[in-house]
Symmetry: D2
Subunit: 342 residues, 4 copies
């Protein structure tokens, strides 16, 4: 019996990626597609890469148009999910690709987002300790941010094993789709091609408290994160370069062993063979995360690099992976494990 | 009962794409992987985007390593397929992604390729009139070139319906993967990013006689093709801009109607709604072809633009589609119909 | 004694390129900089690549703010130049980078632009026969469109020498800066990177009548142009692939000789050595145009490829080159002849 | 009286950029151009963006072909400069764009480069304390590495003012031209477009000891540098994100004031206005460096981002700037201060 899924925000990049994955999911039937400014248009206008849905007409996003489905994916601007979710019924699985229900600390939420905190839902990063248990059977999922996904996967083993000092430094490069589809001058192709630039420098990025939350939980103590995101001339992908001072006694072997163990049973996270480093190109369109780790003896730091596709593992793939767990389906069902490369 | 498939040339771009598609094919089990200069290495070195096969060791390409499979995909340099194929047995389906068996005219072959003609195999462009019949049950398939795929799909309806004069002008932009993985200075990222350049200008490109062959067959008379390929700063994709003088009496309506009819039942070729034009970005990683057509009244020309992914529909996807037909499987089985966009 | 120059539309791409070139011009002193929606801001916000002018404040575009200069460059949206120009005085050299005064045929203008024709000014393509004479001493210059610059340079010698039939087919790839700085969804980096797409197919592009005008003048008969522009994933550059049927008796030698002769004394147009083809990367930021020509014997067509930087030779460089001629300065003064490559 | 300059390694990226800048230098006349594998070819083959030198024939690199010039620029592979330089005479200004004479510590040199140390020359980063004095009148210049240029400019003020703890963390993204023109598979356009990847992770990059040397000199104590370089999908540019723990008492104001003061008189280094961040696109082809600084209070770190063009300020521009100082010319002579953007 098929799972009937609706997607709110189907005209955007996250919504489009959710649809691409659902089209390849053997148990899902795609129901209502909704949007706001594109409502009334055919999906083919906004998402020409999904010809099988080209003729579908976008409805206005509302609890009414989204009602009657088993699963509803929300790919809405921050702050809009709560109002929709609370009208969808407790038996509907609501998967929120936005930020509204990710943070546990209401004060942090309000400091970074400037609106009241809507609550905290089970967090859709199955690779976090305890996450799969929380996701199983849940009817509400908060999909992690794309940067926190990459950074948490990269640093969790080091913190969980007590190898790293609680001050992480992260510099991550993201493809432009992470900034969404709203037309802004600094996101024009003319501006971004051939150029790299940072933004939200100095702790201002809204994904910082989410990283702090995840890493602190793993470390069992508060971990600070100095996070600098940069915009790279590519449509997709996050390359997160993460480092922290090594605790005394950490060796290259103990480090590698901790990572080996942490990812041994993970279906989507791959510790690369020694000497091989992740590239975002290898995970384009895939739900895989590639990780490599090194000990910089001269600087006394653990350096970990993780690569994901911000729209797949970083958003829609993580969402479908968590949906699979919530519904008791095989975790990998319908999810691409190969990148489209070159 | 699974189809057992081997891939020769598994370390290159075409071979990698064949593997990506076969990994998503529900009836195929992947057997031997062979290569030449990379033989002995693990596939993960050459194809880091295929983590499920990362540990596979590449064997040396030979009839011995390729024996014992139901299907053998050849992704070899031009001129090397015949020697391998003739030793594979007549009950093995051999799918040649190279050029060796595409052309019917031995003299044309020798003029463009400079080596003796090896023969002609059933041509793996199912959308050509009569092609599906020839492919059904065959044990030998010549996969078309990437440019001829794009150009033939774009112009066939016009020639089949007798709407166009037999002198076509084609300018096509290709992603760099079309030039292969051998390291040459003019293909360096530093050279190609931010730059477009033509090559093989004036009729010299080897794909020209293949276009002439296909279009002439459709037109029932010899069609000349002035073909200029250009290298575009993108890894994948072909955008073919094709035109020919309109025959007297052709109207925008009769033109559109011919295209509508030609593609109505095609699973992978989509005539876009009026006003929407193809982009290669919409077909990245997909086996779809997007086509749009216009009549330029002032210049008296039919203008057709087609977009495909050179590695998917233009090579490996066309190969798998033809394999499906040859083996009596559903034509669309295991083939992606969505692009990875943006 | 310095030439005092003002730039209207200084916050856009054309205006920014005019400023970049004027900063390198030994005889020019930069005066008023004006804009519309950016008025009141410092130039450093809009044009961070021009640090020497970063502190300059943008004035509102008006005849008053532009008065009192020797030269005024207009880089305004189509249809706005006439109103400004008529209030600037007949002794001021007005260089219009927009389309308003390019076309001679008022009916063509109105058909393509939909507003009344403002007139025709001396045309700033010095390489056109007779153009330098018309530019010398003029106080009004209509800078050509970027596509017509590339296409006219590529095809003029063939038409002037009577070698080509009067039906040209042109497919040109342009960098995204040609579409301007206004934020539109289809120009987002996410959309354009990794993708090529056509637009204005079927004769609809406004630059078509300008090509017809130039080529017809050279040919001495009406030349039709089938023009398809495509958007390429690069910020700058135009690669124009142009062809026409060869007239009887044309040989590779007569063709090359015509081009050799046509460009022998041109300071910025270079016929490449045989076997070498133009790339847009080689002219980034340069006022040079690279051209190569071939005879496709099998198809009976002359094929010419030209490469320019759409913002330099295609707009601001052509403007400064024409200004130099108008003011009696050396034509090459202050203009870059080297590209920034790779 | 013109300065007569020769360039060894004229067919590579660094050599090509030296030539581009020398062509715009009013006091320099370009003499011998030499190469190794391209010797005998015309420069137009290797450097099509320099049409004014297209006909020049490349000589074999040797002391003989380089003799008789006032200045010789060496753009050779590491380890080859010493043999050439020692035969050039002490009255010739030798500007080495390679690494051979940059490091003061012979042991560090040998550890990172694996060959004997050739010596230490005056270091061509004029913005370093004391550097201009050492460069004035010198006949030998070691041009800094591209990464050390970006990183040193970004962090020097913090260390010189005693604001930062002596453990720096640097993640830098570089355009592909930094990897040179030798054709290697991982540098193919197909591989790098749409992808980011790290290399030399864990302290292995050869530019690390150069950063340590510069920052330690400024700090007056040994500074460690954890350096991770990444390859970005763009031909040019370095974006260096640098951070270090803030010393107690450092405020946003004291930090900004230190940077303001440090760069106040620098002709090429620009501290951006608050709220504006550097992008590499703004410095393409320019000798400018753009810097911005922030205090991340929550993480207790100083974060500085610097952007340069790796080939201009990072190599050839730094070389010409230092040459100007050595020869007693105005420091800015002939150097572009504007980027080619967009």
């Amino acid at each position: 019996m098929a799972i009937h899924a609706a997607v709110a925000g189907a005209s955007g990049y996250a919504g489009g990626e959710v649809l691409r994955l659902l089209l390849g999911h053997p148990e899902v039937r795609i129901g209502a597609l909704t949007a706001h400014s594109s409502a009334g248009q055919r999906l083919g206008q906004a998402q020409p890469h999904l010809p099988r849905l080209a003729g579908r007409v976008l409805a206005e996003t509302s609890a009414e148009t989204l009602a009657g489905h088993d699963v509803v994916f929300l790919a809405l601007p921050h702050g809009q999910s709560a109002a929709v979710a609370e009208r969808l019924g407790e038996d509907v699985l609501v998967v929120d690709c936005g930020a509204d229900f990710r943070l546990e600390d209401a004060a942090e939420w309000e400091r970074f987002y400037g609106v009241p905190h809507a609550g905290t839902w089970p967090y859709g990063l199955p690779e976090l300790p305890g996450a799969r248990e929380a996701l199983r059977g849940t009817k509400r999922i908060a999909v992690p941010g794309c940067y926190p996904t990459a950074v948490s996967l990269a640093l969790l083993p080091a913190y969980a094993a007590g190898l790293a000092e609680p001050e992480a430094v992260v510099v991550a490069a993201s493809g432009t789709s992470g900034a969404g589809k709203a037309a802004k001058p600094h996101l024009l192709g003319s501006e971004v091609m051939g150029s790299m630039s940072p933004y939200g420098v100095g702790g201002g990025h809204r994904h910082t408290p989410e990283m702090v939350q995840n890493l602190s939980a793993a470390a069992g103590e508060r971990v600070t994160v100095s996070f600098t995101p940069t915009l790279a001339p590519m449509p997709r992908g996050i390359l997160a370069t993460c480092s922290a001072k090594a605790r005394p006694g950490v060796t290259a072997e103990s480090l590698r062993s901790a990572y080996d163990k942490a990812f041994a049973d993970e279906p989507f996270v791959h510790l690369l063979p020694e000497g091989q480093w992740p590239s975002t190109g290898a995970v384009t369109g895939s739900n895989a995360a590639l990780v490599q780790v090194a000990l910089d003896a001269a600087a006394g730091r653990i350096v970990v690099v993780g690569a994901i596709d911000n729209l797949t593992k970083g958003t829609a793939g993580g969402a479908v992976q968590s949906m699979n767990i919530a519904l008791g389906l095989p975790e990998e069902l319908g999810l691409p494990t190969c990148g489209v490369a070159p």
